[in-house]
């Protein structure tokens, strides 16, 4: 007998799919030939800020740029603050003729990456 070891994995992914991604309002976007370029603020650690101040450097939050490829840009455009991850993955899968689970995994991974950078939050 094999225990249901994967139960937590499946249910946690199910919960993640029911979340709604919301864009950080401090993130700017530009359209480029490759897709969407995101410009997002990077928080400086307090100790680093103190150090920068000590040396007279500019301690205001710096901006970073992230160029999304066409697929990432499409997912970014599907985020309207209302659609759940599940809905975004379904629309993405339909438009690209992708397998449903494949789209869900890819969209979750993409949103996790954006979340780590503080570009999106989940509600």
């Amino acid at each position: 007998m094999r225990r249901d070891e994967n139960a937590l994995d499946v249910s946690s992914r199910d919960m993640a799919l029911d979340c709604t991604p919301v864009k950080n309002r401090h993130v700017d976007q530009e359209r480029t030939a490759e897709g969407v370029m995101l410009i997002y603020p990077v928080e400086v650690k307090p100790w680093a800020r103190r150090l920068m101040r000590l040396f007279g450097a500019d301690d205001r939050p710096a901006n970073k740029k992230l160029q999304l490829d066409p697929l990432g840009s499409q997912v970014w455009d599907l985020m309207d603050g209302e659609a759940r991850v599940r809905d975004i993955a379904a629309r993405f899968a339909k438009s690209r003729k992708l397998h449903k689970k494949e789209a869900e995994v890819a969209v979750c991974q993409f949103l996790r990456d954006l979340g780590r950078r503080g570009i999106v939050a989940m509600k």
């Binding site: 007998m1 994967n6 139960a7 499946v10 003729k97």
Partner: protein, 300 residues
């Protein structure tokens, strides 16, 4: 388990390691292993199948006893007779016994079967949180076969389907978003099935030859630069083999590593996928075998 839920909706066939099963369309593989299949319905794991060669003398009750002892579940696992519906569903097997268990907040109900034809012991179980109806369970059980008849074995998972010769063995597999790969051994040769998608985004305005020119060097594990042949808009073949001079021929013969590479890459526009069959071996590939594998490989 619910008993009055109808088995409406669409169903799909899965094929893995010789076994075939028909399941509701929304059941997807959560884990795939050697003669092992765990399916989920998007919310929880629903069904597990394991089949192994054990010989014809083993009885299902003995297997259950050993499993329960090995897992420390002697108290939680209960052997029981199969209900008439399940018994009817698995009547093709030589021996069968039912079981149910509840352990650590989880539960399951299933059957252990013995296939007299090939000596496989089969464990099939529906996992507790899934609420699978008796009707669905019976249909799933009745569709299960643990060995493929004929000289081709179906490998059907996610959105790919292949019929590989029966003497091929799966060495490894990878199902990552955008890229699937199944590597088979045939003697000392390897045959690999690839699938990429979405094709329109991958190609991004390039033709198939241009795109595959960046992929093939990564697939090709032999000395020498692969060259194209038989190129069309949606199909291209690549090949690499030792040079024609005596030194290259001798080095190829003495080398323990594969010396020949061949692959056929084609685009399936209606599915937005790119499929590929590749060969790596000591000798030139068998064109008839390659054609047979390519013909049996498709995007669903």
């Amino acid at each position: 388990m619910k008993t009055k839920r109808a088995t409406e909706g669409r169903w799909r066939k899965l094929g893995w390691w010789g076994a075939r099963i028909t399941v509701p369309e929304h059941w997807e593989p959560a884990r795939l292993g050697t003669r092992y299949l765990l399916l989920e319905d998007g919310r929880a794991n629903v069904f597990e199948a394991r089949w192994e060669p054990v010989g014809r003398r083993t009885d299902p009750e003995g297997v259950l006893d050993r499993l329960a002892r090995a897992r420390g579940m002697t108290r939680s696992l209960v052997q029981e007779r199969l209900n008439p519906r399940w018994a009817m569903a698995v009547r093709a097997f030589d021996a069968a016994t039912g079981f149910s268990w509840s352990y650590d907040g989880q539960s399951g109900k299933g059957a252990v079967l013995l296939c007299g034809q090939c000596g496989h012991m089969i464990l099939l179980q529906f996992l507790g949180g899934a609420n699978v109806s008796e009707e669905t369970a019976a249909r799933v059980l009745s569709s299960f076969t643990d060995h493929a008849g004929g000289d081709a074995v179906p490998w059907t998972v996610f959105d790919v389907s292949a019929h590989m010769p029966a003497d091929f063995t799966l060495l490894r597999h990878r199902f990552h978003p955008g890229q699937f790969e199944m590597v088979f051994a045939h003697g000392r040769d390897t045959w690999t099935l690839h699938r990429w998608g979405p094709a329109d985004a991958l190609l991004a305005g390039r033709d198939l030859v241009g795109w595959s020119g960046g992929i093939v060097p990564r697939l090709c594990e032999v000395r020498g630069d692969p060259a194209t042949r038989d190129t069309t808009a949606n199909s291209v073949e690549w090949e690499a083999c030792p040079g024609m001079d005596a030194f290259d021929q001798l080095r190829g013969r003495l080398s323990l590593k594969p010396t020949h590479f061949w692959c056929h890459i084609w685009r399936v526009p209606e599915k937005n996928r790119i499929l590929c069959v590749s060969y790596t071996g000591k000798g030139a590939h068998d064109p008839a075998l390659a054609e047979r594998i390519c013909d049996g490989y498709a995007a669903r």
